[in-house]
């Protein structure tokens, strides 16, 4: 098989106060896959996400992105390869205009001039937000901000995009628009979510995380149909939702 786009091996981490957050977490994602990361609150999902580009460093274990190990030497390149879309777009969009925000990432990697402009235009076009390039982010709706947040990451041409709760706070129409955009992108994706129908729709494969470990790894439909597994990990489908009847 090909070199995994992302490989996480035996990752363990505890907070300075001693709380264990990650316990031998391990999985790998191949290029082109779209994978959902499911789990209850406090399972360690967001902490895991922060390990994927070296914002947090593990006590033990390793992260390898497209063959490149995450260490001091490679951390900058790893941050280009792993694009994280944060849960709150207000955390992600901090520049005076949308265009400058999308340019921030590639500019940090020395892209400039006409190429930078092309990167910005391409990324904004991919999420259908090119017409707001000159506007300040706080004039956009939450749905638009979330799409721009995706563009800020796409502009860095990452190996893998990691989305933290992409459908949270979106109304049904914005949620649908975002799904259409995400499926139209030809990119490897890891999506942390509590929105199980969204996971089923967008990600053929899912990982279940609980108490800092990966408990299950398999087809999303199978995982959502496994009542024992779902119950043991505090996962619940919306009332009346049958994963085997949809799509």
């Amino acid at each position: 098989m090909s070199v995994p786009a992302l490989e996480v091996v035996d990752l363990s981490y505890h907070y300075p106060d001693g709380t264990e957050v990650l316990r031998n977490a391990g999985f790998h994602i191949h290029p082109g896959e779209r994978v959902a990361l499911l789990g209850p609150n406090g399972a360690g999902k967001t902490t895991l996400v922060f390990h994927l580009n070296g914002i947090f460093r593990p006590d033990s274990g390793s992260v390898i992105v497209a063959g490149l190990p995450l260490d001091d030497e490679h951390v900058k390149e790893i941050r280009r390869r792993v694009g994280i879309v944060f849960q709150d777009p207000d955390d992600q969009l901090f520049m005076p205009t949308v265009g400058q925000d999308v340019a921030f990432g590639p500019a940090n990697y020395g892209v400039e001039g006409a190429e930078l402009q092309t990167r910005v235009n391409d990324a904004l076009s991919a999420v259908g937000m090119l017409d707001v390039a000159g506007r300040p982010p706080h004039h956009l709706s939450v749905g638009q901000r979330r799409r721009v947040a995706v563009a800020t990451v796409l502009a860095m041409k990452p190996e893998i995009v990691v989305l933290d709760e992409p459908s949270s706070n979106l109304d049904p129409a914005s949620r649908r628009e975002l799904a259409d955009i995400l499926t139209s992108l030809d990119i490897t994706m890891l999506m942390v979510t509590h929105d199980l129908p969204y996971a089923l729709e967008l990600c053929p494969r899912s990982l279940v995380m609980n108490e800092g470990s990966i408990i299950a790894d398999g087809s999303t439909r199978q995982i959502l149909s496994d009542r024992e597994l779902m119950k043991a990990n505090r996962l619940e489908l919306p009332l009346g939702f049958d994963p085997n009847l949809t799509l």
């Binding site: 922060f50 580009n53 914002i55 900058k76 941050r79 280009r80 694009g83 994280i84 944060f86 709150d88 207000d90 955390d91 992600q92 969009l93 901090f94 520049m95 005076p96 205009t97 400058q100 340019a103 921030f104 990432g105 500019a107 940090n108 990697y109 001039g113 000159g134 300040p136 982010p137 706080h138 004039h139 709706s141 939450v142 800020t152 990451v153 860095m156």
Partner: protein
Amino acid sequence: MSGTHTHALFVHGHSHLHRLPASTKLGALGLFVLAVVLTPRESFWAFVVHAVLILSAMWLAGLKPGFVAKRLVIEIPFVLFALFLPFVAGGDKLDVLGLSLSIEGLWGGWNIVAKGTLGLAASIVLTATTTVPDLLSGLERLRVPRLITSIAGFMVRYLDVIAGEMHRMRLAMLSRGHDPRWIWQAKAYATSAGALFIRSYERGERVYYAMTARGFAGQMPTFDAERATATEWMGALLLPAVAWTAVAVAVLA
């Protein structure tokens, strides 16, 4: 999400003044204010020249006098201070309607009000014709350190976010029976200010993570701001040039 728009100061328009690059307008404002400050307080006619210059800029930008007047309200505390001066300053006195006013104080008060109003009105014209992102890139173009423009940019960006959080906290307090009309309930506000500070601090941390995640290593990237042409500079500097001429005549005369 709701929230006030930060470009409350900006008035949409397509005038020549709107179209001038921000750097030239900032340069013109700086030089004009300097000229106003250096104008001898006795040269009333020079102040009239300055006022006419601002009025013509307002006319050029299509700004209504009422709009500028409303924004001048922010000056009131300083005006009050200036009104106070003739009563408290020492030196020779002048009797007006039975009031004993200090001549030095009258000049001092006039000086503050005239120069403050002119400077403020000029800034209002600038902010009404230039968006905040343009102002920031204009400042960068004028070689203001990037650290300063970045801090200003973050401030503008998060003012609405934090104001929104404050608004939600206020609504939460109201919903639970808090009635903020009474001064002795200020304690609730003091506590929520503390909570707001912690929340903003935590947001700062998350924003920093988001910046780091996109390769930030301590240096904000530069973006090419629009470069002003010689003609644009000349157009913008016409206004301070007239003001400086007036100052020169007033000082030399």
